[in-house]
């Protein structure tokens, strides 16, 4: 179930909110949240529910065993989580590398990359002794399956979440902030991401008439789409968390304002970057190693980051692309980068990020090569013919400058919301429902990760 679906807004959310708040007992509230989270998951991926619950049960049992010093428990938990991730997400990809063809296809369980990383983090933290094992399976399952973050993060750490799995303080200000945050995310998704997505899809879908200008426009549209789509989802998740008294970690911090690739990755999908830093990069030795090993560590982390996003070569290249750019910044440019004018640094960073998203977007190697060539070797665009394919893109085109503007911290909503702000959010809610009822093109890019 997607947050931006009518089923979620009309069928799921109101009854869950009412049932949750009808009784103040933490046990009741956790019960409501757990049952609703499992229903939420089953609605979108009914066949994958046993895998989610089964994996969580095994990791929970192994966690108890690890704490009691049973040596086989940790490798069993990590092996099972990685094994199921490998089986359901990567088997076909790796089989293809070795020239084998699978005679069957496996359904990719929704959110498997996200909940697998949470389970791995739990097992690894237990092993390191930085957390205590959760005694209650139901509380543990709620940590894994809590519906606001289940499908697309933010990736939670058990250590920070555990206190909230008990009693939670819920204030009206917190709830109202949650509502505003949810509506902001919904608007980002429906009013911006889904609109510019049509433009990108339309340009990438038509090989005729498309030249350099159109390809850069498509790259820009996809750059905006993926940010407003994913950060919109994160806003909705954080907002929903607030409505139930949870404080979920931030996942984005205006990434397109970054002046370097290093800064970009401090601002983009923050919980994933921190996960790789804590559980891959630092255990590999981080930067306290030889230069050759450092290069290897960076490339390993970024190849894995790419692969996490999808079982396809373009994701691996996309990850390595960032690995190489980060190495160039750290080893070649170093402090010299700071002497470059800020505007130029921003422009170069933003352009590099745009190119990266093209690699991310196009899974067909032939099309990717043609598009990248087209972006850098000038060819004219037949704008008249391109626009004549579907003139309805004009309303989407208007969203591009708006989306660019909103990618910067130009507007700050005051913490103390005035009456006008409440009415503004009410109008935004109406607008979102209007777009949702009227439009049918609403894929969530991060849904399958």
């Amino acid at each position: 179930m997607l947050f931006s679906s009518l089923s979620f807004l009309f069928l799921f959310l109101p009854p869950v909110l009412i049932l949750y708040h009808i009784h103040p007992s933490p046990r009741w509230r956790n019960g409501v949240l757990l049952v609703s989270s499992l229903l939420f998951y089953a609605w979108g991926a009914p066949k994958a529910l046993p895998l989610l619950v089964g994996t969580a049960a095994l990791v929970w049992l192994c966690g108890l065993g690890t704490e009691k010093g049973r040596r086989f428990c940790f490798p069993l938990a990590v092996g099972f989580v990685l094994g199921s991730l490998m089986l359901f997400k990567y088997l076909g990809f790796f089989a293809g590398i070795f020239g084998a063809r699978l005679g069957f296809s496996l359904l990719l369980p929704a959110g498997i990359s996200f909940y697998s990383f949470q389970l791995l983090a739990y097992s690894l933290d237990l092993r390191r002794g930085t957390i205590r094992a959760e005694r209650s399976f139901f509380r543990f399952l709620l940590y894994v399956a809590f519906f606001p973050q289940l499908l697309q993060g933010p990736i939670l750490r058990y250590g920070k979440t555990a206190p909230m799995l008990g009693a939670r303080a819920l204030t009206w200000d917190g709830a109202f902030y949650g509502m505003r945050r949810f509506l902001t995310g919904l608007a980002k998704k429906l009013l911006i991401a889904d609109q510019v997505a049509v433009l990108a899809a339309s340009i990438y879908g038509s090989s005729r008439y498309v030249g350099t200008g159109a390809l850069w426009l498509a790259a820009l549209c996809y750059t905006l789409q993926i940010y407003f789509d994913f950060s919109g989802y994160s806003d909705m998740a954080i907002g929903l968390g607030q409505l139930f008294g949870f404080s979920l970690p931030e996942n984005f911090n205006y990434p397109y304002t970054a002046l370097s690739i290093t800064e970009f990755w401090r601002r983009w999908h923050i919980t994933l970057s921190l996960w790789f830093r804590d559980y891959v990069y630092i255990p590999l030795g981080g930067n306290r190693v030889s230069r050759a090993r450092f290069v290897l560590n960076i490339l390993t982390v970024w190849a894995l980051t790419g692969l996490w996003h999808g079982a396809s070569w373009n994701f691996v290249f996309w990850g390595l692309y960032y690995g190489v750019l980060l190495l160039a910044e750290k080893l070649v440019l170093g402090k010299r980068l700071e002497r470059v004018p800020r505007l130029l640094r921003w422009l170069v960073t933003f352009t590099l990020v745009n190119v990266g998203w093209v690699m991310f977007r196009l899974t067909d190697a032939g099309q990717l090569a043609a598009v990248l060539r087209g972006m850098f070797v000038y060819a004219p665009t037949d704008w008249r013919a391109l626009l004549a394919l579907d003139a309805s893109v004009v309303s989407r085109l208007l969203m591009v400058p708006l989306a660019l503007w909103l990618s910067f911290p130009v507007q700050r909503v005051p913490e103390k919301a005035g009456p006008l702000l409440s009415l503004g959010y009410l109008a935004l809610f109406g607008l979102c429902v209007l777009f949702l009822v009227s439009a049918s093109f609403t894929p969530f890019i991060y849904f399958n990760f």
């Binding site: 179930m1 009518l6 807004l9 009309f10 069928l11 003139a391 309805s392 309303s395 959010y425 009822v437």
Partner: protein
Amino acid sequence: MNRRIQICAAALCLLFLLAGLARALLSPETEIAYENRPARRWPAFSALAFLRGDYQAAAEDALADQIPEASRMKKLYNIYDTSLALPLIRFLGRDGGYVGFRDICFFHDMLVVRPIPLAEKAAALEESARKISAWAAVSPGTDFYVYYIETDRDLNLETGEKSGLFDCLAAALSLPAGHAERLRVDSFDDYRRDFFKTDHHWNAAGSYRGYAELCALLKVEPLPQPDRYTVPACYRGTRAAGVEGVPAEDFAVNLYDCPDMTVTIPAGQIPDYGMQALFVSGELENVSYGSVFGVDCGELVFDTGTPGKNLLVMGDSYDNAIVKPLAASFAKTCCVDLRSYASELGRPFVMAEFLREHDIDAVLFVGGIDYFGATLPTAEGG
């Protein structure tokens, strides 16, 4: 004060969401007038459908139709979308040529669709031809005819290049010479003359041309050339649905002098097929192709009560405008629409049984690419 407004705003949102859910579950709409179709309703639960995800998809569709003011919202969105696009459409279309808008195209003053390449439909057309030829082969006492209606899907209106869909169908048919004909559309002028500007159906001129050509094909005497009654600027066809700002067009009907006949649908006898008389008297409020000429029906039987041959018309909504005058030339005329025959009659259509039951002398297949390229080749039955 501020807190109260916040609570009111939150409560309003919650109430609206609950109202939408209650409406979808307890008091659903049956029809979406704005989109000219039945409203999708809350699906019956089945574990298998849930596992497949069909239940969830149907529930989402139902909510899209049932939440309060859904049609108004869709209209508002379409006004917003179209008003932004129309200036660009006018600019791009000033020298002629297709200008796309969602699934349709503007071409001069008409709403059209782009032509279908032959490769996309060749297999389906050959399957249609195979079915018709097979039925004809096992029904020696019955004559089989095909009348193919060319539309904007058969012709590139910009270049005049034709897709060759009829040629493909005709080449694959095993019928006697002269038993397969078409309504030829060779140019934009032909198309503009014979079809509505805002709808995919033929207009009064096109349907009369079709009727006259069909009479020649079936070798029956046509009714005298009818007067034509036109109501100006009263009609926006299905292609204009969702395209706000496109002006209404004229709607004309041919006033055939038909003899008295009984009309029977699966539910029983009805006074007349269509509401042409109401349209002419100015009492028809909602002018649409279906309301004027008759709505689509799985099985329709016209009986003139005179001796003569019996005709079976196999087609879709195109024949709605001509079956009544056509029936005037036969003792009994049955019309079968395979899109709804099985669901309305409770059994699949079986040609041999139908021919025997109704003592049919001639079978006429009539329609465009939607019929010969989709409905007929995929229809169940035999």
